[in-house]
């Protein structure tokens, strides 16, 4: 039973399109995250939700909009996709928002914008 799952695994799309990535965790965790990993493997946090409340909102273009319908789900919608959005997007979760908790990562969504 997968702890943190993401769909789709691969996403290839044209510039200017709108796309969504979905994430679900079955660990009963309170906190979920979206990370972007670029081609140099640098991992940067984008957003975090704690019990459906947005608690981390990094300097990310407002074309990116997260949504958490409940604490087990965190989706990421991207409008007007650009070439620079090509990356691997990881969802993660942790028991609480306390930094002492380990984070569990999903398998990632590789987004390619053409």
């Amino acid at each position: 039973d997968t702890a943190v799952s993401q769909t789709p695994k691969y996403l290839v799309t044209q510039m200017g399109n709108d796309k969504s990535i979905k994430c679900e965790q079955n660990l009963g965790h309170d906190t979920m995250y979206w990370y972007k990993q670029d081609s140099k493997k640098f991992l940067k946090i984008m957003f975090s939700y704690n019990n459906k409340e947005l608690i981390i909102n990094e300097t990310v273009p407002n074309r990116f909009s997260p949504k958490s319908p409940d604490k087990a789900h965190l989706n990421l919608h991207i409008n007007s996709l650009e070439l620079g959005d090509s990356a691997v997007y990881f969802c993660a979760s942790s028991l609480t928002r306390d930094s002492y908790n380990e984070q569990f990562f999903g398998p990632g969504t590789r987004l390619t914008v053409l």
Partner: protein, 113 residues
């Protein structure tokens, strides 16, 4: 802003050789976490260090947290091909009450059989 730096960026070793990656923070950390990402995979938590000067071992892996809690290292003894991947250290930003982790750039380890 707060930064976590990791060196080296890449390391190629012969199977059986040792490997070390170093992590330095611009600020004192309450704790530090280490993650491993296999090629094509996702980061997986390895360990957390909390106390000043702490040393923890997992089989051939030895993790250290500096006395000042600003640096850490991961040492692998007698590398194996299964050790291939990118190793990240990560420290909490600020007070750590948001769960936000600042990740180092990672060290990618290649092991030649």
């Amino acid at each position: 802003g707060q930064q976590v730096m990791q060196i080296p960026q890449y390391q190629h070793v012969q199977e059986g050789e040792d490997f070390t990656t170093y992590c330095n923070s611009s600020t004192t950390l309450s704790n530090i976490q280490w993650y491993k990402q296999r090629p094509g995979g996702h980061p997986v938590f390895l360990i957390q260090l909390v106390k000043s000067g702490e040393v923890k071992k997992q089989k051939r892996l030895t993790f250290q947290f500096g006395e000042a809690k600003k640096n850490s290292s991961l040492h692998i003894t007698a590398t194996q091909t299964t050790d291939v991947g990118t190793y990240f250290c990560a420290g909490p930003e600020g007070s750590g009450n948001t769960g936000k982790l600042i990740f180092g750039q990672g060290t990618t380890l290649q092991v030649k059989p």
